[in-house]
């Protein structure tokens, strides 16, 4: 299971206390751009996030009991100022309440910086060639048979238009070379045996106590009532072959470079 590193932060508690209490909070930030974006700001923002937001959204931003994941883009804000406003005020008519009234604007901006860090990977120099990788994606690698980018491609794998904003190169390499190591439940396979003994197998789109829905290899959608089938079996391995089965090491590097170039801001 992929776990974001929850590094223990060394910043002493009194720093947080001072962020919460030094200056009176304002409802709206005076700035429209975030003035607090250094690595230290991100770390301070993380600490405040874990204290004030982690109970609902998860300690690593991956979602929790009460709040959605914050590491897959934001539903209600597209700018730093918009994020600031939501962190400060909450979302009206919803369970999302604003951060502590004691929090200063500075500390709210730091939380914004931390949230952005969950959704932006740091640019690095990679050995591969992205242009070659793009050709491999649609050609020899046949990735586009299952994965869609900007509306082109198949439906039997995750949509990858902005994958470079969500996964760093190491994570991409792990997914490409060992795809069954960490398969999210959405991409498990379910094998359904109907009452007449016939079998339908497909990707697990959704499942609940009474029913399940799958997409078969022809991208056909099926819905079953569990009480109306003989059995159903979860298969938790990926249907994706390892990239090393068909690509050379340098081609894998090219593919990683291409995937990492697919950023949210380019959409």
């Amino acid at each position: 299971m992929r776990m974001r590193s929850l590094c223990a932060l060394a910043a002493p508690a009194f720093l947080i206390a001072s962020l919460l209490a030094v200056a009176p909070a304002t409802t709206h930030a005076q700035e429209s751009e975030n003035p607090y974006t250094t690595r230290l700001d991100v770390r301070m923002g993380q600490r405040l996030y874990q204290q004030q937001c982690g109970r609902c959204h998860g300690q690593d931003g991956g979602g929790g009991e009460l709040g959605p994941a914050l590491d897959e883009g934001f539903r209600n804000a597209s700018t730093d100022a918009g994020l600031f406003r939501i962190v400060r005020e909450g979302i009206p008519n919803s369970q999302m309440i604003g951060i502590s009234r004691n929090a200063t604007d500075q500390s709210v901006w730091m939380v914004v910086s931390f949230l952005n860090s969950l959704n932006n990977t740091v640019d690095v120099d990679l050995p591969g060639n992205a242009s070659n990788g793009r050709q491999l994606f649609t050609g020899k690698g046949n990735c586009s048979g299952c994965h869609m980018v900007s509306g082109d491609g198949g439906r039997r794998g995750p949509e990858l238009t902005a994958i470079g904003s969500r996964r760093d190169p190491d994570e991409l390499r792990a997914s490409l070379t060992d795809p069954s190591e960490d398969v999210p439940p959405r991409w498990w396979t379910v094998r359904v045996t109907r009452e007449d003994g016939s079998v339908v197998e497909g990707l697990r789109m959704n499942e609940d106590t009474f029913s399940l829905r799958i997409m078969d290899e022809n991208e056909a959608l099926w819905s079953f009532l569990k009480g109306s089938v003989q059995s159903h079996e979860r298969i938790k391995t990926s249907i994706m072959p390892s990239a090393t089965d068909t690509l050379t090491a340098s081609e894998v590097d090219d593919l990683i470079a291409y995937l990492f170039s697919l950023k949210r801001e380019d959409i």
Binding site: M1, R55, E65, S100, R101, P185
Partner: protein, 545 residues
């Protein structure tokens, strides 16, 4: 201020026929008659009404209505739906009095509707400040009624008294300063001529208490702190001044035994939740069951489920009272499925520990409790900066979701979760009005890897009689009925009925959104209804006409 004597006016005076809303035929009722203490004590004798949060003072959540039973539950159909005009997750359990249903809404509102049609009589919107301190949603779980007055907790830590006929506010008493992290979310409990009500804020370093108020004027009768002050010997269970910010809230509704005159109420986590270093000791009376005398609120006995809790396992569950033959002897027992994943049975008169067994996945303690019911901890299960994997997760083996007990099957029904989480600890300084938790948790696996179940437990043995598997999980309460049914729901929007004896699924309905409340049942004009809040809609079902 109106006098209670008004409330015992003759039936002639109070039999004010109320017409249904335009578009519907006038109903044979409803006529709201005063709810006396005698009616509340004998609530099981009028199963057409659901007079309090847990149905009856013993909190069994057992409806004696049997029109809907195992043979016909498949014929349930939707009778009406009430849309709560707030986008939120409802935790309300409505009450019904003589054909009028009272529904609470987020953040702190209440509406009265015709229980046969769902059409509104009145609504009360409680004004709230915009700087509330609430950890876990803008929740309200229900009202209590005495006479013709409703009593409702509000998020700004007040107890509001509302006229049940008009929705007019009669008074509002402040229990504590919300700016310090106090809030109120749970339905009060009427105990004789008192409104007994708890407090929330365990994530804000409050000092918890249970209050009793005069129903006529909102004056406080008594307050029992759930953390003893320094003049009490049990204060030694808190290091230094940590008792001042030790949490131990009382954010759910308790139960009452009128024969013993004992109030039973659970207390929540010590604060900070996940960092116990600053509050060494057992931290009494956090995570405990309290037995308080109805007169004056003095403590008769207590039992602490999780001494020195560092996992946020509040003992905020509904105590269920029943009289059982236990090991050949008639006992007045209290049953308690705790968030720490153990199921307990006590003699509720003396507090004697009778039985304790795990009912959900549990890795933090030995499965056998000691002879006094104290857990025997497994080493190295405390949160650390790097994280430690422990079962159950913060959500617990169960949580605040109401369990139920059927005197017909003699089974205790509980929502169980076999989960795990990585617990973290961090240093944190107390700042008044800010969260004071000292850590957190993160699930180790996708939710689909875990399992929820409704478990039927034999309280005489602690053994699990049956287990109904739920995918992916449930956070709903439970009701059982004289029709030998168990009703509950799921996190992904199902409402369903099981055979109370076997756990066999008999009926289900997709209600579209998370069921995070508990079902209740009532009758109007001879028709039994079953009601559940899901998402922000209240659905009512009945048998096909």
């Amino acid at each position: 201020m109106r006098r209670l004597s008004i409330l015992v006016a003759t039936a002639t005076l109070v039999a004010l026929q109320v017409l249904a809303q335009p578009g519907g035929a006038p109903s044979a009722g409803p006529a709201l008659t005063p709810v006396t203490w005698e009616r509340l004590v004998n609530a099981e004798d009028e199963p057409e009404n659901w007079l309090m949060y847990s149905g009856t003072l013993d909190s069994q959540r057992f409806s004696r209505l049997d029109q809907v039973d195992r043979t016909n539950v498949g014929d349930l159909e939707l009778k009406w739906a009430y849309q709560i005009p707030q986008l939120d997750r409802s935790e309300t359990v409505p009450i019904v009095v003589d054909g009028v249903m009272f529904i609470t809404e987020a953040p702190s509102n209440v509406v009265a509707v015709d229980a046969a049609t769902g059409r509104q009589f009145w609504r009360y919107n409680h004004p709230l400040p915009d700087d509330l301190r609430i950890c876990c949603g803008r929740n309200n779980r229900g009202v209590a009624i005495l006479g013709e007055t409703l009593y409702m907790s509000t998020l700004d830590a007040k107890l509001a008294a509302i006229d049940a006929r008009s929705g007019n506010l009669l008074w509002a008493s402040e229990a504590a300063d919300y700016r310090s992290g106090y809030s109120k979310t749970s339905a009060p409990l009427i105990v004789k001529d008192q409104v007994v009500t708890g407090i929330a804020g365990g994530e804000y370093g409050i000092r918890g208490f249970l209050d009793s108020y005069d129903p006529e004027n909102g004056e406080r009768n008594w307050r029992t702190y759930t953390i003893p002050g320094p003049d009490h010997p049990d204060s030694q269970t808190w290091a230094g001044d940590s008792w001042r910010t030790g949490g131990s809230p009382t954010w759910l509704t308790g139960s009452y035994d009128p024969d013993l005159d004992l109030i039973y109420w659970g207390t929540g986590n010590p604060g900070p939740d996940w960092n116990g270093d600053v509050r060494m000791g057992d931290n009494l009376y956090s995570d405990s069951a309290l037995a308080l005398r109805g007169d004056g609120g003095g403590m008769e006995w207590y039992f602490q489920f999780t001494p020195h809790d560092v996992h946020d396992w509040d003992a905020i569950q509904i105590p269920i009272l029943a009289d059982l033959e236990f090991e050949g002897e008639e006992r007045k027992v209290m049953m308690w499925a705790n968030r720490n994943a153990f199921f307990y049975v006590f003699d509720r008169e003396t507090g004697e520990f009778l039985l304790g067994k795990p009912f959900a996945k549990m890795t933090w303690a030995e499965p056998e409790l000691d002879s006094n019911g104290r857990p025997i901890r497994i080493p190295n299960m405390e949160p650390t900066a790097q994280g430690v994997l422990v079962s159950p997760p913060v959500g617990g083996g169960t949580n605040w979701f109401s369990p139920a007990y059927s005197p017909q099957t003699e089974l205790f029904y509980v929502q169980a979760f076999d989960g795990e989480a990585i617990y973290f600890k961090r240093d944190e300084e107390y700042v008044e009005g800010d969260q004071f938790t000292g850590g957190g948790q993160q699930y180790n696996l996708p939710m689909d890897e875990y399992q929820s179940s409704i478990r039927a437990i034999d309280p005489k043995t602690g053994d699990i009689a049956w287990d109904y598997w739920i995918q992916p999980r449930s956070t709903a309460g439970i009701m059982t009925t004289a029709g030998d049914l168990v009703f509950s729901g799921t996190i992904d929007g199902y409402f369903f009925a099981l055979d109370a004896e076997t756990g066999e699924e008999l009926w289900h309905m997709n209600v579209g959104r998370r069921v995070h409340s508990a079902p209740m049942s009532y009758a109007v004009n001879g028709q039994q209804y079953v009601t559940i809040a899901a998402g922000n809609v209240v659905y009512t079902f009945g048998l096909r006409d």
